[in-house]
């Protein structure tokens, strides 16, 4: 895994891509969880700075109301998502193959990360989906129950991508 990792990130392009994708993923996690507000602001032709304010405020809300552990886990999922997607891009370019269904697990981890990112409201939407009243707030760890497995899934996904790259014989090891 270490060698495959080095092969991918030896190229600075993939480091830049990872940083950009990680930042984008964090932005998307916050955006996804404040979607209703974005829709309202779009309808009012609000200035772009207000959208940025909603994102920064959303991040501050997660930190203040849900705790540093959940906030750190969301950042971890964002970074791992950036690394995983960069590795998938590398794999696609090198092998012309998506790398079987195993890589889909990575997207499962990203989905979990988005799902566990608390929004700026105490949500009842899980109640609608799973019949759980109180949303993430009823979980003792306030959403870490979802984000921690997401981190595990993303790490596993990176392992399988690395293994696939090594097996494809394209890695210089």
């Amino acid at each position: 895994m270490k060698n495959a990792f080095q092969s991918v990130f030896r190229n600075p392009k993939y480091i830049v891509a990872s940083v950009l994708i990680s930042s984008l993923m964090f932005f998307i996690f916050i955006l996804a969880n404040n979607f209703a507000t974005f829709v309202t602001l779009l309808g009012l032709n609000s200035p772009p700075k207000l959208f940025i304010e909603v994102v920064t405020n959303g991040a501050a809300n997660i930190l203040a109301a849900s705790g540093i552990a959940l906030f750190a886990s969301i950042i971890a999922v964002s970074i791992l998502s950036g690394l995983t997607i960069s590795m998938i891009i590398y794999q696609l370019r090198m092998t012309r193959s998506f790398g079987c269904k195993r890589n889909l697990a990575g997207f499962g981890g990203i989905f979990g990360g988005a799902f566990s990112s608390a929004c700026s409201a105490c949500s009842t939407t899980l109640a609608s989906i799973f019949g759980v009243a109180g949303g993430l707030s009823i979980f003792p760890l306030k959403g870490l129950e979802v984000s921690l497995p997401s981190i595990g899934i993303l790490v596993a996904s990176m392992y399988f991508i690395s293994k696939g790259l090594v097996e494809s014989g394209r890695c210089k090891i």
Binding site: A36, A64, A65, C122, T124
Partner: protein
């Protein structure tokens, strides 16, 4: 994919089991088919609901909240004071807090306590005090006994009257009714703030958003 996630988590996807107009005593709610990007709803505020601000104010700001919700606490601390200062105290808008108590039994108790406080004309004193001294949700900070002990600190409060009202569960049905009304309006998280009036209908803002977001919506509705 993320738009789909956003629809679910952001609460704009029509996942509630709302199917049409809801009639609850003197309350009529009629959701509008979305003809523009922001969904508007018709809302008749219950006549028993106390408000802050001038009766002649042209706009209503109606918050559906849970006294245990930390994001409602954030809204109370961050945006509500500025909204009060710029729009409520200047006579432009009236502020209402209505129950959407869903986070647990203590939320129900807190909601009932508010209406018991209202019997003494202290609805918003209680509201302010509860949010100023909010504990972690479902940690036991708002059991009936703890709430009675907290209420002692609200100035001018008749605690014996409050205790007796709380024990009687006199307002249990009202809290549940208001929560159901919120569900009927499509409230999927707290705080959800509806801004508008009977003529312009109401635009909702979900979450403890920055003051500028509320300002944008309020100014649009005032204009």
């Amino acid at each position: 994919m993320f738009l789909v996630i956003g629809y679910f988590i952001g609460g704009t996807f029509p996942v509630s089991n709302f199917t049409g107009a809801v009639k609850e005593s003197n309350i009529v709610i009629q959701p509008q088919q979305p003809q523009q990007m922001q969904q508007t709803v018709k809302l008749q505020i219950p006549s028993f609901a106390p408000s802050r601000g001038s009766d002649s104010a042209q706009l209503n700001i109606v918050e559906f909240g849970d006294y245990q919700c930390p994001f409602c606490g954030r809204f109370f601390q961050q945006s509500e004071p500025q909204i009060k200062q710029d729009y409520v105290d200047t006579g432009k808008a009236k502020f209402y807090f209505l129950d959407f108590q869903f986070l647990g039994p203590d939320s129900q108790t807190l909601g009932q306590g508010a209406w018991c406080a209202n019997d003494q004309g202290k609805y918003y004193d209680y509201h302010d005090y509860s949010y100023s001294h909010q504990g972690q949700e479902n940690s036991g900070w708002a059991t009936p006994d703890k709430l009675k002990a907290l209420a002692v600190n609200i100035s001018g409060f008749d605690t014996a009257k409050f205790d007796s009202c709380l024990d009687s569960k006199k307002y249990e049905a009202r809290v549940q009714q208001l929560t159901q009304i919120g569900q009927g309006l499509g409230v999927s998280g707290t705080p959800t703030i509806f801004i508008g009036n009977d003529q312009k209908e109401y635009i909702s803002v979900v979450g403890a958003q920055p003051y500028d977001v509320f300002k944008q919506v309020i100014d649009k509705q005032l204009g």
